[in-house]
Amino acid sequence: MRAFIPDYKIVTPAALNDALALLANEPEVWRPFAGGTDLMVLLEAGKLPHKNYLNIWSLDELRGVSVSDKEVSIGSLTTYTEIQSHEVLRTEFPMLCHAAAETGGLAIQNRGTLGGNIVNASPAADSPPALLAYDAELELVSATGARRIPYQGFHTGYKQMQIRSDELLARVFLPRRSETIIHYYRKVGTRKAQAISKVCFAGVITRDQERITQIRIALGSIAPIPLRCVKTEDSLLGQDVNEKTIAEARESLANEISPISDIRSTRDYRLRVSLNLLEDFLAGGGSAGGPARQR
């Protein structure tokens, strides 16, 4: 343990309103602490400079998955384990369930939360690419009210987000779709479990014959933020899938992402695997209407 533990404070509010009031009254003092699966790692390494935390783990208002005709609403404290076991999520948003199943081991999945995965803002996080491909929206709450924003655009730079220090991420909304979608999720991390992604690819596509009628693509670990690849989508939308469009899409994606070399992988590897997965997604997305492809 490389942190000086007596320096750290945790307060546990009784209800969401108390938490929001504290955030409003003592601005910048308190930061939320949920399942701890990221923050405790930093603490152990002596790399957690902020000292005062608001324990939101027990706020039931932020838990639970509810389903309406239009959308699924997921409380930000919903754990990866809870996500995987939800029937609607499993059938309609399989990429999110795969992301949850591939994040750490069971012990991590029992503590790691969807909201935490978003606001920890790691470019290597597993669920953001799936959320981006599903056109997720976020609800942020504060003492002064709630606001709902698209998830795309939430991350503005490395560890930078459109959230105020008096706000909490309350819920994640996923719009339901009636049409048949092909889902393609692939986390590449060398080992089969407990991996940190080197590339994470999430894509959904619908086609009319060969023509692409809808497409959304998002990648992780290839830019400072989880990236929705709009330009590549635009280059493909309305096109027929063939060798030429695939080649153009590869080129477009190569320009759109900006992978780096670090201790986990290399720029070249991330780039080439991203392009390979894009091609596989476009050319081989043969599991029409089926669940997301497994790795």
Partner: protein
């Protein structure tokens, strides 16, 4: 007893026993179990939720105790390896680990036993891939996991175990020199 500054009062149940203690809120549950409650069966391997040696069950869910600040276990029920055997009677999972060679150096074993027990409580008849997934959060450097898989299979109730499993498990004596 006067409270040391910055510490909080905590109440939780550990292995069925109610405990009250004072701790800094950010102390790891791992350290509190080991140092305050002398429950040293819970081990530290990595301190970052990677190896699973510190696995415990909180309210029936397996977690890495190195990643849980003790402030978050107020009111919780915790089960550690010390709470697995009852009255000197080993749990069937523990016995299977002994019989099948599932424990070698033993440092991952408490966490691995809890992971196996957690798996079997949720899925009494796991397939091979269920076992692999269920134990993927617990690293073992000694066994290559194979004896651990066999331990889990052996711990399944005899009557519901897959027939394929049973066939494998009693197969053949050791090869003897053929020449």
């Amino acid at each position: 007893m006067a409270k040391e500054s910055g510490k909080i009062d905590l109440h939780c149940t550990v292995n069925g026993q109610e405990r009250e203690l004072q701790a800094h809120p950010m102390e790891r549950l791992l350290d509190v179990l080991r140092e305050r409650l002398q429950l040293t069966g819970t081990k530290e391997g990595c301190g970052e939720g990677e190896c699973g040696a510190c696995s415990v069950l909180i309210d029936g869910l397996i977690v890495n105790s190195c990643l849980v600040p003790v402030a978050q276990v107020e009111g919780a029920s915790i089960r550690t390896i010390e709470g697995v055997a009852t009255d000197d009677q080993l749990h069937k999972v523990q016995q299977a680990f002994i019989d099948c060679g599932g424990a070698q150096c033993g440092i991952c074993t408490p966490g691995m036993v809890l992971a196996a027990l957690n798996l079997l409580e949720r899925n009494p008849n796991p397939s091979e891939s269920d076992i692999r997934t269920g134990l993927a959060g617990n690293l073992c450097r000694c066994t290559g996991y194979i004896r651990i898989f066999e331990s889990v299979v052996n711990a399944c109730a005899e009557d519901i175990r897959h027939t394929e499993h049973r066939k494998q498990e009693i197969e053949l004596p050791n090869d003897r020199a053929q020449h």
